[in-house]
Structure formats: structure tokens, C-alpha cells
């Protein structure tokens, strides 16, 4: 059994996937940059692995988007992983690459496309059942992995025989929409590397750090805010001695919310303050949601030139502040209109219905104020 091994875990790269530029409010130029950043994640991770001198690279799934990954993209990815040789790279195929036989993990598919087979240092767990793999360079360490196949809704627990000694590392991708009891899944293994969830998380079994959910390597929507990272794990024997998160890319997505103060003459300044307090860097992509009161839902002007160097992309959108809302004066049209919509907003449960009512409120009050109407309901970029 080795005294100490270092593992690097990453997944959910989604190479080839759309950049999410529209949802992020990116300019076409930045969208192109963002695409190359998403596709370049393999290179960054491999560089990191080389830099950290890891003993194995664990990739539990969703490395590319099956619907959009071209053979050239795959060839680059294989080249990156091969460049890490002889360090073993272990892959547990997930949902995004396409379940079953029709994906790039199938050597026959590679052959048909004229692509080489996966490099020798890359192990792909193509079976549905948990499969073990050992390496001469890592004696006493067993790697277990499995692939997602059509019909899989959860991950079966790894069947570990009692009394077995040694280090056991397992990796798999969680099926999207499925549910798995992570803690029980991690029992019996030294480290459980899971993919399939955009948000990173540590799996703790009692006092023990038993594994981690990788989280997506690149932010593609405001659901993936915060720094993107990989897990660097050190095992002393069968015990986890250190777990670190290391940034996987420099660009961070921020989704900030501030509250509009009626009469505040300097919304730009308020936004600047919130950017600073959130630690936004010039490369970052930011959305600022300004919560406005229903009786004054119109955003004052924002001086974007003051914000230009604070982030690579910044969009400001208004949103109705959460209740309770004051009762408008029903004796005038504006008040009655607002009161009517607030009543409906209180009754609406569906987000789409609430969005519509909010937009209606903004538009109606804008019209009453004699301001030009906009389909972006006051969003500023």
C-alpha cells in the first residue's frame, strides 16, 4: 500500500456546449472567448494536474456535450489527457456525453470516425456495473468506476467485501434528475469522486471527508456562480489527509442583488459599492438585480462608463422588491392599477405568472409616468 497518493478530481466540463451567452448577457466577442474557455478546460486541468504532480486524475463524467462535441474537439481532449501519461486518467462516463453505445467512449465509434482509441493512460469505465482497475505504479490502490447507461436513475452502492484492505477510490457520475444517498455510497471507499452536479460539495460521513461532488468546471449560467474549482485530495494510506479546492478558471460569475432606495440619486455608485463588496474582478461576468418598490419601479439612469472596467460583462435588471408592499392610494388610477397588480402578485404562485405581473406593473407605471416602454422592462447592459 502506498504511503501517500495525490488525486485531482474534476468533471462537468461540458466541452462543446453553448456558452450561455444570451442568459449571461455577453457580447458576441465575449461569447466567443467564453466558448474557447469552456473548450480549453481540459488543457487547464491537465496543466494543474501536472503542476500538482498528482498520482491520478479522476474525471467522473460530463466531459463534453454529446449534442455538440465534434471529433476535432474530442481529438484535442484525448491529446490533452495523453500528455499526462504515464499518470493514469480515470473516466466514469456520465449523462452529457450520451448514455449507451453511441458515444465517443465506444472504440467502434472512434474507429468509424477515424479517431484513435483512447490513450493507454486513460481508463474509461464503460460498464454499467462497478468495475475495478489497478495500476502497477499505485500498488494497493483499487479504482472503481462505472458508466451511466440508459435507464439508470441512481447509483448502486459499491459492493465492498468486509475485511478487504487497501485504498479504494470510486468515481461515477450522478444521473441528472436521479437521487443517490451520497453518504452511504461513500461507505467502504477512501474517496468517492462524483460528477453530474454543477455545484461543488464535500461529502462528509460523520467526521470523515469521504468524497466530493466536483461541480462544473466552467460557469455557463447564473446558476453556476462563484469560483469554479477542482478538488485536490491527498490520501495517507486509506485515510484522507487533505482536501483542497483549487480554482479551475480565472473568470467568475456573480449574481448580485441590491435594493433601490427611492430618491437615491446615485444608483451607479450603489452598484459600484456592491461590486467591490462582492470582490468582482475585471474578468468576471456580473448580473446586478436591483429590487425596486412597487410604487417606484423605474430604474434611475446608470452611468456604465463608471462601471466599464469593473467587469468584463455587467447587466443590471430591475426586480420587484419582496413584500410586504405598502398599500397604494386607490383613489387614483396609478394607485388602483398598482394595488390591482400587487393583489394578483400575492396570489400568483407560478414564477412565469409572477414575472408577467411584474413586467405589467413596470410597463403600466412607466406608461403612466410617460416614459418610453421597453421589452427589457428597464434592464440595463
Amino acid at each position: 500500500m502506498p504511503q501517500r497518493i495525490r488525486l485531482l478530481q474534476s468533471s462537468d466540463w461540458f466541452c462543446g456546449a453553448p456558452s450561455g451567452a444570451r442568459g449571461l448577457g455577453l457580447s458576441p466577442e465575449l461569447a466567443a472567448v467564453r466558448r474557447s474557455e469552456i473548450d480549453g478546460v481540459a488543457q487547464r486541468i491537465v496543466s494543474l494536474a501536472r503542476q500538482e504532480k498528482v498520482d491520478a486524475l479522476l474525471l467522473p463524467g460530463n466531459l463534453w456535450q454529446a449534442a455538440a462535441a465534434t471529433p476535432d474537439l474530442l481529438l484535442n481532449l484525448m491529446g490533452c489527457l495523453e500528455s499526462l501519461a504515464p499518470t493514469p486518467v480515470l473516466i466514469a462516463p456520465g449523462d452529457a456525453e450520451g448514455r449507451g453505445q453511441g458515444n465517443y467512449y465506444n472504440p467502434r465509434v472512434l474507429d468509424v470516425l477515424g479517431l484513435p482509441d483512447w490513450p493507454p493512460n486513460v481508463t474509461v469505465f464503460r460498464e454499467r456495473a462497478w468495475t475495478a482497475r489497478t495500476f502497477e505504479a499505485l500498488p494497493g490502490v483499487q479504482f472503481f468506476g462505472r458508466a451511466l447507461w440508459p435507464g439508470d436513475e441512481g447509483l448502486a452502492e459499491l459492493d465492498v467485501k468486509d475485511g478487504q484492505n487497501g485504498v479504494r477510490v470510486a468515481l461515477a457520475c450522478q444521473p441528472s434528475g436521479g437521487s443517490t444517498a451520497l453518504t452511504s455510497l461513500a461507505r467502504g471507499v477512501s474517496w468517492l469522486a462524483l460528477g453530474g452536479n454543477p455545484q461543488p460539495a464535500l461529502i462528509v460521513d460523520g467526521e470523515r471527508q469521504a468524497g466530493a461532488v466536483s461541480g462544473s468546471a466552467s460557469g455557463r449560467s447564473f446558476a453556476e456562480t462563484g469560483p469554479r474549482s477542482v478538488w485536490l485530495v491527498t490520501l495517507e494510506g486509506a485515510r484522507v489527509s487533505e482536501v483542497r479546492r483549487v480554482a479551475s478558471e480565472n473568470r467568475v460569475l456573480h449574481d448580485l442583488v441590491i435594493r433601490l432606495v427611492p430618491g437615491d440619486p446615485d444608483l451607479t455608485g450603489t452598484i459600484l459599492t456592491s461590486l467591490e463588496s462582492a470582490g468582482v474582478k475585471p474578468l468576471d461576468i456580473v448580473r446586478v438585480t436591483v429590487e425596486v418598490p412597487p410604487t417606484s419601479p423605474l430604474l434611475p439612469p446608470v452611468t456604465f462608463s463608471r462601471l466599464a472596467d469593473k467587469a468584463s460583462s455587467l447587466v443590471v435588471i430591475p426586480r420587484l422588491e419582496p413584500g410586504p408592499w405598502p398599500e397604494p392610494d386607490p383613489r387614483n388610477v396609478e394607485g388602483r392599477f398598482t394595488a390591482d397588480l400587487l393583489v394578483r402578485l400575492r396570489q400568483a404562485n407560478e414564477p412565469a405568472a409572477r414575472d408577467l405581473l411584474q413586467a405589467t406593473l413596470f410597463l403600466g407605471r412607466s406608461a403612466l409616468a410617460g416614459r418610453s416602454l421597453s421589452p427589457s422592462f428597464g434592464a440595463l447592459e
Partner: protein, 970 residues
């Protein structure tokens, strides 16, 4: 709320201004332009609400600069206000942005009650009960607002602003227009310039559909690729199995070849043994073969073959010929029995009989047709009621009929002739009478002349007698006249006696002649009628008239009658022809078995058929007999040929070794044994032995074959070993051909499996390429298109909903607002003693008024019948009604008037000012700022002392000194 005191520390052009505002006083601020009159009003508002941020106002920062004191001194003011029994001091420092509200009664700082976090304070709203916007729209009347020409439209606008936005800048009407405008022209369109929201949606939807289609196509391609890749493994397995099967089939071919070689060796050995056996048999048969000539046996055999079965066939044909002859004879006898004596008729007789029989049948048919026609004609006549008449006329003699043919015409002619002769007689008589009358007249005239002459003579005589009194010429004249008249009379009388005597005689002669002819004519007519009467009686008619009528009727139906007659004639002719036929048929009656009389048509046709059958049978018999004769001749020839052949056969048998004198059959039996040996000898020699020798081979060849077989066996076992198979794995085959065919099929299956695998791989590559090529761009493009569509859809929904809800809110608010204003105005107008009951507002908030008698003025009436002053009073009433509607009507809010009546003439100005002081001031304090000093001095001068003391004049230029001039605090 009541403002007691205002201290302006610095506000625009106002510095250290102290204004006290006693209860029930109108503060009249009279000063020049730019003295700060309007700033005084704004300072009061700023004291209540802070610096304005109302919509449409100058932006905050800039307004602050505008209101800042021009000398750079302190920027602030203090108000002392009484509200609901509490006195407050409101101090504002606009430089520091601070506010201080102190309850003067309790000396308590109550600022926190009026401050909101990070928002404007609520001093004005709490104390005045109105928002700043509403205060500005009601209690603060700016310059020119009450202008005669525009106050109605301005009032409508302000009321709309109050009703729609609480006194803000916007109105529901403008909001609806903005919404409609946005609906018609999409703001910030993404699918093209100048498009409506609907067009934007339509275009975006089209883009989404296109991109979704592309995505679906790619998705399907990937699904197909997945399916194909799943089938790849099974296809590869199938190809492997096919290849193994083909290899085994090839080995099966080798195995079959081995077995074939083995069989060939066996066959060669068998052939060698057979050669030996044949050679031994040949040596045994050779003596017999040598004793016979090959040609004799061949000739004998040829003759036997030629004769073959011909004797038996000849005998059989002979029997058949005799049988046929007997059959023909029997048939002839049968025919005689069937046809009887008819058989004996000669051909000519049969032709005559056939002619007669056809005539009989034909005549019978014609007779039936003629009788039927006759019957039909009679039936027709009977239906028309003519049948009986025809019979009656048919019973008449031909001379009668001939007479009747012309009788009618003759009668008419005679009658006409009689009439004509009577007329001629009358004419002749008349002419004679005329002549006689003319003669009498002429005679009477002549006699008259004579009488006149006598009278004239008498007169002349008298005159002559009276010569003394009558001149002589007269007497002479009279006498001459009497003489001449007398002469004339005499001449005329003479002539009249001979006048037309010949003519009269001629007419008398003609009359006698015509009369005689007429008598003859009447006699003829009488004779004719008599004969007609006789014929009528003979034919059975009641009268000659009936006869004539019937005869005319029959003549009208003459064509029918003629047909009837012709039919009868035809029938009679046929009957006569049949009588002749019966006579002609008599000689054939017995031969054809006919009974007496003319045969019926049916019998005739039956006899005709019989004759036809008979003739046919006889023709057939003749033909058969001719054929039998020809057969008999052929058989005789055959018999002669056979006899010649048999003789030649017997001679040939003798030549082949048979002893002479034996019967032909014995001779042939004798020859046959040697012939068999001879033939067998030559069969072996010519056929069996060469074939056997051909199959037999040398021992070297056999060894070579054995060697080849061993090589093949070795190859077979090597192949099996290579496939990991044993000999039993080979496919069972019955022959080399079958094995080769199996191998060929297995090869074809392998090629098919290989082709399918290649095709699947190509399809897989294509589908994968289709599935991922430009997919990212397409997916992003789809996201874009969906976002654009969603944006436009949401915008449209929100616009529609906003329009709907705004409309609903407007309807309700305006209705309530109108009712509220009307109710409030009723009280105000009553208090003011104006002759109106209430203000009325239409849906667009245009104002008019209801008179005390209940009549509501129309808008034109309102504009043209009311004086400008009255309308300005009503305008003020409307503004105060708004405050009352919003519940602040009794708060004694001050009325701030900024030079309100600038466009009024002097008379109207005075009236309005009096109205303010007398009617409005008792309700609320008034601040009026103006630059028209002279006009207001006149106004003050004409006030009664009692009223005058309610007006406090404040000149702003006196600034701080005004403190001293201000009225005492109440």
C-alpha cells in the same frame, strides 16, 4: 392645517423674510418682477415637502442650485403650522439636508415621526394631508392657470393628472397611447426595424421553428447514430460467424474432393476387372460371329422392323371397315322407318314438295296477318262508330253507290240552277214591267202637253177676246204657245205608243223560256230526292238527311275504308292462293303423311324440317359410303404389300441359315438364337469393351490419385485445426457440387455481412457528423431565437395586461372621482351662494355645471353663456372640490395664487378679487402674489372698511422690515 408664520432664511431671491399669516386674512404680496413672489410660494411648498422631486420638475441637484440663495447665505426656512390643534415648527436646512419638527405646545422634537429611512420626509403629507403633487394641483394656482382661454383644458388636464397619478405628470390616456404605440411599433426590435410586436413575435417564432427543426434533425441523427453503434457489435459478430461458416464450407469442398478421389480409384479398379470379363466373353462368341454375315442379319432385322405390327393393324382395319358398312346399312333402314314413303321421293319431287310447303306456311302466315289487319281495321271503325254504316253501304248495289257518289253534288247543283232560273225569270219580268211603266209615263206626259195646249189655246182665245186690254203680241204669243204645246204633245204621244215595244216583247219571251227551264230543273230535283229516299229506305236509314250525313262521314273516312277494302281483297287473294296450293299439294300428301285438306303452317314447317333431316342424312350416308370405299381400297393395297414383305422375310431367313421349307415363324425362331450371340459379340467389341478400357487406368495414375487425396486430407485437417474445429463440424454434403454450392452461399453471406457492416459504419459516421456539425452555433442560435421570442411574447402579454388593468382602473377611479367632485362641489357652491347646484364632470373630466333647476349646461353652453369670471369661480370650486374629495377640504389649507388674473380686464379683476375676499377667504387663508400694484390699489380702495381689514398687503422688497408691518399674532 394652517400656516401661522414663515421665516425664510435664504431661498432663491428671498433673504431673511418673515411673514406672519393671521387667521382669516388674505396676504396680498405686491411687488415688481423678479422680487421673489413665485419663490415665496415655492418656499412654502419646500417648507412642507422639501425640495421638489416631483416628476417633470428639474432634477434634484439642479433644483437645489436654483433655489440656493444668490448671496451664498444660509439655505433654509422655518414654518410654524397649526394642524389638528397642535402647533409645529418645521425647520429645514437645505444645505445640510436636515429637518427639524418641534411640537411647540409640548416643546417636543417630533422629527422622527416625519422621517423615513433613505427617503423623503412626510411633513407635508402628514400635516397637509396631500402629496406635493396634489397640493400643487389644487391649492397652488400658478400663473395663467385661470386664464379665460385655456382654463378648461388645463383644468381637465390637471384633474386627469390628479385622478390618474395623484397629481403627477402622467395621465391614463397618455399611458394608453404609449402602450398602443409600443404595441404597434416594437421598441428595441431584434428581428428588423419598424415592426409591430406581433410581427416581431411572428418572425421570432419562425426563427425558433427553423432552429428547432435543425436541432430535432440533429437529435434524430444522434439517436440514429446511437442505434447504429449498438448494432455494430452484433454486425461484427455476424461477420465473424459468417467467415467461419465460409471457411468450414471451403473445407467441406476439400473433404468432398477427397471422397471423390477415393471413388475414382475404386472405379478404375472395377473397370479393369470388367475388361477382363468382357474379353473372355468375346472369345466365347467369336465362332458364331465369324459364321454369319453381318448384312444378312441386318436385312432380316430391317424386314422384321418394316413388317412390325402391320398385319395386326390390317386385320383390325378390315374389321372396322366391315363394322362401319353394317352401321351405314342399319342407319338407312332406320331412316326408312322414320321417314316412310318420303324417302322414296325423288330429288325433284322433294324440291317441289319443299316449295309447296314453304308456300303453305307462308300463305298461312300472310292470311293470318291479313285477317288480323282486317280485324284491326274493323275494330278501329267500330271504335269510331263507322262499322255499322260501312256495312249498310256495303249492302248497297254499285249503281246506288255510284248514284250516291254524285247525288249530293247533283242536288246542290239543281237547287242552285232552279234558283238561278227563278231569278232570271223575275229579272225578265221586271225589265218588261219597267219598259211598260216608262211608256205609260211618256204617254201621260204627252197627254199633259196636249191638255196644256188646250188650256193655253183657251186662254189665248180669251185674250184674243179681250183685245182691248191685252196687247196683241201677248195674245199672239199665247196662241203660239198653245199651238206649239199642242204639237209637241201630239208628237210625244205618238212616240210613246211605240216606245221599246221590241224590248218588252223580248223580255216576255225570255221570261217564258226561263220559267220552262225552271220547271224542268225542279222536276229533276224531285226525281233525285225520290231516289235518295228510296236508297235511304233500302239501306235502313231513317231519312235522306241521315243517309247524306252518314255518306259524308264515310267519305271523310274514305282512306280508312279503302284500307279495309284492300285488306279484304288481300285476304281473299291469299285464300284463293291457298286453294291453288291445296290442289298442287295433293300428290305429295301420302308421301309426307299428311291428312286431308291443306296442312297447317306448323305441319308444313315440320314437314320441311323432316325433309331437311332426310336430305342431310342421305348426304352423310353418301359421304360415309365414299369413305368406306376408299378405306377398302387402301386395305387391299396394304395387304398386297405385306404379302410381298413376308415373302422377302422368308427368303432372308433362309439366307441367314434357316432350312428351307420351314414356316416363316419357325424359320425366324431358328435364326434368332444365332442373331443374339452375333449382336452380343459386336456389342462387346464395339461398345462395352472400349468403355471399360477407357475407365481402366494405369497403376501410376492410381498412385497419383492416392497422393492427391492424401494432400487434400492434410490441407483439410490443417484448416480444421486453424478454426479449432473437428471433422464433424463440417457441413454434411452429398456431393462435390453440393459442397461447392454451400461454400459459394457461405461466401455470399460473408460478403453481405461485410457490406452491411461497412454500410452501417458509413451511416454511423454520417449521422454523427450530421448530429454534431455546427451544433454549438445552432444551439446558441436557438437559445437566442427563443430568448427573442420569449421577450416579445412577454412584452405583448404584459402590454395587453397593462392596457386591460389600466383601463379597468381608469374606469373605476374616474367614476368615483367624478362622483366625489360633484358631491364636494355641491357644498362649496351652496356656501358661496352661487346660483349653481353642483359641478358636473363627463368621462373625460370636462367640467360643466348643473343649475339649481336641475338643468345641466352643455359644454358649448358652459363655454359661451357663462361669463369668464363665473367660470374662474367654478374653476376654483373644482380645485377645492378635489381637496374636499381627498379629505382635506376642512383642513384650512392655504390657497396660493401666483398672479392669477393677469388676463382679466379691470372690471372682471375687481369682481374676482371681491369674490375671493368675500366667499373664499372665510373658508381658508389666501396668499396672492402679484406685480400689478396699481390694479390692486384700486381693488383695495373700493373695499369697504370691514372687508378691507381682511387683506394684508406685504411688499417683499421691505424684506425684514415686513416683520414690523405684519399683523399681530392671533
Amino acid at each position: 392645517m394652517k400656516i401661522d408664520r414663515l421665516s425664510v432664511h435664504g431661498f432663491a431671491g428671498l433673504l431673511d423674510l418673515e411673514v406672519r399669516w393671521p387667521a382669516g386674512r388674505l396676504l396680498l404680496v405686491v411687488d415688481t418682477n423678479e422680487a421673489g413672489k413665485s419663490s415665496l410660494c415655492e418656499a412654502i411648498l419646500a417648507g412642507l415637502y422639501g425640495l421638489s422631486r416631483s416628476p417633470g420638475a428639474v432634477p434634484g441637484a439642479k433644483l437645489r442650485d436654483l433655489r440656493r440663495p444668490r448671496n451664498g447665505g444660509p439655505f433654509g426656512l422655518t414654518l410654524e403650522i397649526e394642524s389638528d390643534g397642535t402647533r409645529f415648527r418645521v425647520r429645514r436646512d437645505f444645505d445640510a439636508g436636515t429637518l427639524s419638527v418641534v411640537d411647540l405646545g409640548k416643546n417636543l422634537d417630533r422629527t422622527p415621526e416625519f422621517v423615513r429611512s433613505r427617503s423623503r420626509d412626510t411633513v407635508g403629507e402628514q400635516l397637509a394631508g396631500l402629496t406635493e403633487a396634489l397640493f400643487r394641483s389644487t391649492a397652488y394656482v400658478g400663473q395663467n392657470v385661470l386664464d379665460r382661454d385655456s382654463f378648461d383644458s388645463l383644468l381637465v388636464l390637471e384633474l386627469s393628472k390628479i385622478a390618474d397619478t395623484g397629481g403627477g405628470e402622467g395621465t391614463a390616456l397618455r399611458a394608453q397611447r404609449l402602450i398602443e404605440s409600443a404595441r404597434a411599433k416594437m421598441p428595441e426590435p431584434l428581428t428588423g426595424a419598424n415592426v409591430s410586436v406581433d410581427t416581431e413575435i411572428m418572425r421570432a417564432q419562425r426563427r425558433v421553428d427553423e432552429r428547432r427543426s435543425a436541432t430535432v434533425r440533429r437529435q434524430r441523427a444522434l439517436e440514429e447514430a446511437s442505434r447504429l453503434s449498438e448494432s455494430l457489435e452484433s454486425l461484427e459478430n455476424r461477420l465473424t460467424q459468417s467467415r467461419r461458416k465460409a471457411a468450414l464450407a471451403n473445407l467441406g469442398v476439400i473433404a468432398a474432393e477427397c471422397r471423390l478421389l477415393e471413388d475414382r480409384v475404386k472405379a478404375i479398379k472395377e473397370a479393369e476387372r470388367r475388361v477382363r470379363d468382357l474379353e473372355q466373353e468375346l472369345s466365347r462368341l467369336k465362332p458364331v460371329a465369324d459364321n454369319h454375315e453381318k448384312g444378312a442379319f441386318q436385312q432380316l432385322e430391317a424386314l422384321r422392323i418394316e413388317i412390325g405390327k402391320r398385319p395386326e393393324a390390317l386385320e383390325e382395319a378390315q374389321r372396322r371397315l366391315e363394322s362401319d358398312r353394317r352401321a351405314v346399312d342399319q342407319e338407312r333402314r332406320d331412316r326408312e322407318l322414320r321417314f316412310g314413303l318420303g324417302v322414296r321421293l325423288s330429288g325433284e319431287e322433294r324440291q317441289t314438295a319443299v316449295f309447296l310447303l314453304k308456300g303453305i306456311a307462308e300463305s298461312e302466315r300472310e292470311l293470318q296477318e291479313a285477317e288480323a289487319e282486317l280485324k284491326r281495321e274493323w275494330e278501329d271503325l267500330r271504335r269510331e262508330g263507322l262499322a255499322e254504316d260501312v256495312r249498310k253501304f256495303d249492302a248497297l248495289s254499285p249503281s246506288d253507290m255510284q248514284f250516291l257518289e254524285t247525288a249530293e253534288e247533283e242536288r246542290i247543283r239543281l237547287e242552285k240552277e232552279g234558283v238561278r232560273l227563278d231569278r232570271l225569270t223575275s229579272e225578265s219580268s221586271a225589265r218588261a214591267s219597267i219598259v211598260a211603266r216608262e211608256r205609260r209615263i211618256k204617254t201621260q206626259s204627252a197627254r199633259g202637253l196636249l191638255a196644256t195646249s188646250l188650256i193655253a189655246g183657251a186662254i189665248s182665245a180669251v185674250l184674243a177676246l179681250a183685245q182691248a186690254r191685252v196687247p196683241r203680241p201677248v195674245v199672239l204669243g199665247a196662241a203660239a204657245f198653245a199651238v206649239s204645246i199642242g204639237v209637241m204633245g201630239a208628237v210625244f204621244l205618238a212616240r210613246a205608243g211605240r216606245y221599246r215595244e221590241e224590248e218588252e216583247a223580248e223580255q216576255a219571251r225570255l221570261e217564258a223560256e226561263f220559267r220552262a227551264e225552271a220547271a224542268v230543273c225542279r222536276k229533276d230535283l224531285s226525281d233525285l230526292r225520290l231516289r235518295l229516299s228510296q236508297i235511304s229506305a233500302k239501306a235502313g236509314f231513317g231519312s235522306t238527311a241521315e243517309l247524306g250525313k252518314t255518306f259524308r262521314k264515310l267519305r271523310a273516312a274514305e282512306a280508312r275504308r279503302r284500307v279495309l277494302v284492300e285488306a279484304s281483297a288481300r285476304r281473299d287473294a291469299i285464300r284463293k292462293r291457298r286453294e291453288r296450293l291445296e290442289a298442287d299439294f295433293e300428290p305429295f300428301r301420302s308421301g309426307l303423311g299428311s291428312t286431308a285438306g291443306l296442312p297447317s303452317g306448323e305441319d308444313a314447317r315440320r314437314a320441311l324440317e323432316l325433309i331437311e333431316d332426310l336430305e342431310r342424312a342421305q348426304r352423310q350416308e353418301d359421304l360415309r359410303r365414299a369413305a368406306l370405299d376408299r378405306e377398302e381400297e387402301r386395305l387391299a393395297t396394304e395387304r398386297r404389300q405385306l404379302e410381298a414383305l413376308q415373302k422377302e422375310l422368308a427368303r432372308s431367313a433362309v439366307r441367314s441359315g434357316a432350312p428351307e421349307g420351314l414356316s416363316l415363324s419357325d424359320a425366324l425362331l431358328f435364326v434368332e438364337a444365332d442373331q443374339k450371340k452375333y449382336l452380343r459379340y459386336h456389342e462387346i467389341l464395339d461398345q462395352a469393351l472400349p468403355e471399360a478400357k477407357k475407365l481402366a487406368s494405369s497403376s501410376d495414375h492410381v498412385r497419383k490419385l492416392e497422393g492427391d487425396r492424401q494432400s487434400l486430407l492434410a490441407e483439410l485437417f490443417r484448416g480444421l485445426s486453424g478454426l479449432g474445429a473437428v471433422e464433424s463440424s463440417l457441413p454434411p454434403v452429398s456431393s462435390l457440387d453440393v459442397a461447392r454450392k454451400s461454400a459459394e452461399e457461405a461466401r455470399a453471406q460473408t460478403e453481405a455481412a461485410d457490406a452491411e457492416l461497412r454500410s452501417t459504419r458509413a451511416s454511423l459516421a454520417q449521422k454523427l457528423s450530421e448530429g454534431v456539425e455546427r451544433a454549438r452555433e445552432d444551439l446558441e442560435s436557438l437559445e437566442d431565437a427563443e430568448w427573442v421570442l420569449e421577450r416579445a411574447l412577454s412584452f405583448r402579454q404584459a402590454l395587453d395586461l397593462a392596457r386591460d388593468r389600466l383601463s379597468a382602473a381608469t374606469t373605476v377611479v374616474h367614476r368615483d372621482f367624478r362622483k366625489g367632485l360633484e358631491g364636494a362641489s355641491r357644498g362649496i357652491l351652496e356656501r358661496w351662494g352661487l346660483p349653481y347646484e353642483a359641478l358636473e364632470f363627463d368621462e373625460e373630466l370636462h367640467v360643466t355645471v348643473r343649475m339649481k333647476d336641475g338643468k345641466v349646461l352643455t359644454r358649448p353652453e358652459f363655454e359661451h353663456t357663462l361669463s369668464a369670471g363665473t367660470r374662474e369661480q367654478l374653476n376654483l370650486a373644482a380645485r377645492l372640490s378635489v381637496m374636499a374629495y381627498f379629505g382635506v377640504g376642512d383642513k384650512k389649507l392655504p390657497l396660493l395664487l401666483d398672479d392669477p388674473f393677469t388676463s382679466a380686464d379691470d372690471g372682471r379683476f375687481l369682481k374676482l378679487m371681491n369674490f375671493l375676499v368675500e366667499m373664499v377667504l372665510p373658508e381658508r387663508p389666501i396668499l396672492l402674489v402679484t406685480c400689478h400694484e396699481w390694479r390692486h390699489e384700486r381693488f383695495l380702495a373700493q373695499l369697504s372698511p370691514e372687508i378691507r381689514q381682511r387683506v394684508e398687503v406685504i411688499p417683499l422688497r421691505q424684506g425684514a422690515s415686513s416683520k414690523e408691518s405684519a399683523a399681530e399674532e392671533p
